[in-house]
């Protein structure tokens, strides 16, 4: 391919298209699909863990934990995502660098905050200015995962909090009648049963998370929507592959991608629901029990 594509302006038809779709920029586009999938694969469990922690805290009997959990849920749910991604991430980055600055450069006398500037010693930079670009990308990506975790964790916490309350009280009473402690009845009775009630809410969150990845570019992580916009824009003769505004085709490709994601998610969630319904004291569980008996 490399020799054929050496002089793109002389090419035509399918050969041109073949070279165009395999140029360096398109490879970055394809790679960004992987970035998005990786982000989802990490951010979803992180959010779920944050949500579980938040829900546990919100219904704790120890009141400071309860206040903390409820404040987390209420505050984060109320702040627009874009504000979170612009303000919180920069603040978090500065906080980390400030701590490193205090540890690594105790002799530094210049002020850190100078007007609008934030200046720490070079050794305290995260990542170091001299680090290869890949580390900067990994760092940005990690910040993104963390931020997604916090934002979606708050929503998940509320869903799980509701789900924990939806488990029939009789189940807990029975557990206690058997002599289980509070902790045992929570882990053995409440948690295994609550997932079914949480699933519709969590699946909503998952679908929103799938579509929230364009926020990544605010952190300098280039996702598929960024590349689709960048590749689709009209290109002049300054480029090797000039073309008019093709964004509609790129966005069509995105549409297909997101529809596929939705389809796969629906399938998986459907199976999960069926799995969790088994043996539950719900309409679905009852129907399943009768179906098995007949």
């Amino acid at each position: 391919m490399s020799t054929t594509c050496a002089d793109p302006k002389t090419l035509e038809g399918l050969v041109w298209l073949g070279c165009y779709l395999t140029n360096g920029k398109h490879l970055l586009f394809y790679r960004s699909i992987g970035t998005v999938l990786l982000l989802l694969a990490i951010a979803a469990p992180v959010s779920l863990a944050m949500g579980f922690g938040g829900a546990m805290a919100a219904r704790a009997r120890f009141w400071p934990a309860r206040i903390l959990g409820r404040a987390y849920i209420a505050m984060v749910r109320g702040v627009p995502d874009i504000v979170f991604f612009l303000f919180f991430v920069i603040a978090l980055d500065q906080a980390l660098e400030f701590v490193r600055h205090k540890i690594k450069c105790p002799d530094w006398t210049d002020p850190v905050f100078r007007g609008s500037d934030f200046v720490v010693c070079p050794e305290a930079k995260l990542p170091l200015s001299s680090s290869p670009q890949i580390w900067h990308e990994i760092y940005g990506f990690s910040l993104a995962v963390f931020t997604f975790g916090i934002v979606f964790g708050a929503f998940a916490a509320n869903v799980l909090y509701g789900a924990m309350r939806a488990v029939p009280q009789a189940q807990i009473e029975t557990a206690e009648a058997y002599g289980m402690t509070h902790r045992q009845s929570f882990w053995r009775i409440l948690v295994p049963q609550m997932w079914l009630y949480a699933l519709p809410g969590l699946s909503n969150l998952w679908m929103i998370l799938v579509k929230a990845t364009p926020l990544l570019f605010l952190l300098g992580v280039e996702d598929i929507v960024y590349w689709a916009r960048e590749l689709g824009g009209a290109k002049t003769q300054a480029f090797d592959y000039p073309h008019p505004d093709w964004r509609v085709w790129y966005f069509l490709a995105l549409l297909v991608f997101y529809l596929l994601m939705t389809y796969v998610s629906q399938k998986v969630l459907g199976r999960l629901t069926a799995r969790l319904t088994r043996g539950q004291a719900t309409l679905g569980g009852e129907a399943m029990r009768k179906g098995a008996a007949a």
């Binding site: 360096g24 920029k25 609008s116 930079k125 001299s130 003769q237 300054a238």
Partner: protein
């Protein structure tokens, strides 16, 4: 504890590299021919060549970063990179937050582009990129301002009739007009906006400012800057 010690040792080793001067240059990558992402996915354009040249003259190690236009100034003052080289005009408003080197492109005209030359620029809908001098200017003329995040979208808005005209740097618009086969034309008079284009720096970074100014001085003196401007913007471009 052992891993902690190892980690600390690794960290203290890695700080040794930090003493080498690596300057991180940020650009938008969506404003040809000033800066754009070329077909191999790398930063390219006038500013890429200029930035590399400056770093060569001053013997700096430079690294290119792309950043969204909207958050390009906040990320600079926060220290995520050291300089902005993204076709950014020197204006008083920006000068309050960041510092600029001397201009490397002289004040160049902005121009309107529309589907026909007789479009109403005073009362029509004018597209411009968010947070640019052109957007500020349109807001003052009394025309309806339609803002977009990227320059590419402003032109697309004119093509599909969403906006009557677009106001942007003439050097950016010229190739699109030339290659549109008459579909796009310049409308109205050129407008002089801004005080030329310079590198944006943190106000506290006086040393880097002096270094960059020195390199630009040298390039202005030996004429290489003019050659570079003509190469990217054509022979009619405004030079020093």
């Amino acid at each position: 504890m052992k891993t902690f010690l190892l980690a600390t040792a690794a960290l203290s080793l890695s700080t040794g590299f930090a003493l080498a001067d690596t300057i991180r240059l940020a650009t938008e990558g969506a404003y040809p021919p000033y800066n754009f992402i070329n077909d191999s996915g790398e930063v390219d354009g006038f500013e890429r060549e200029l930035g590399d040249k400056i770093c060569e003259i001053e013997e700096l190690t430079c690294e290119w970063v792309t950043n969204d236009w909207d958050s390009i100034i906040p990320n600079l003052v926060s220290g995520n990179y050291d300089a902005i080289i993204a076709g950014m005009s020197i204006t008083d408003e920006r000068d309050k937050v960041i510092d600029f080197t001397q201009a490397y492109i002289p004040p160049a005209p902005s121009a309107y582009v529309a589907l026909s030359a007789d479009v109403d620029l005073k009362n029509g809908v004018i597209a411009a990129q968010t947070a640019t001098i052109q957007a500020g200017y349109v807001a003052e003329t009394g025309a309806t301002l339609l803002e977009f995040a990227t320059p590419d979208e402003t032109l697309a808005a004119v093509r599909n009739g969403e906006a009557d005209a677009v106001l942007a740097d003439k050097d950016y618009l010229a190739p699109f007009v030339k290659e549109s086969d008459g579909a796009l034309v310049f409308a109205g008079e050129d407008i002089a906006l801004g005080g030329g284009i310079g590198l944006g720096l943190r106000e506290s970074d006086t040393e880097l400012k002096a270094t960059f100014n020195d390199a630009i001085d040298k390039m202005k003196a030996d004429g290489s800057l003019n050659t570079m401007i003509k190469k990217w913007f054509g022979d009619d471009a405004v030079t020093w």
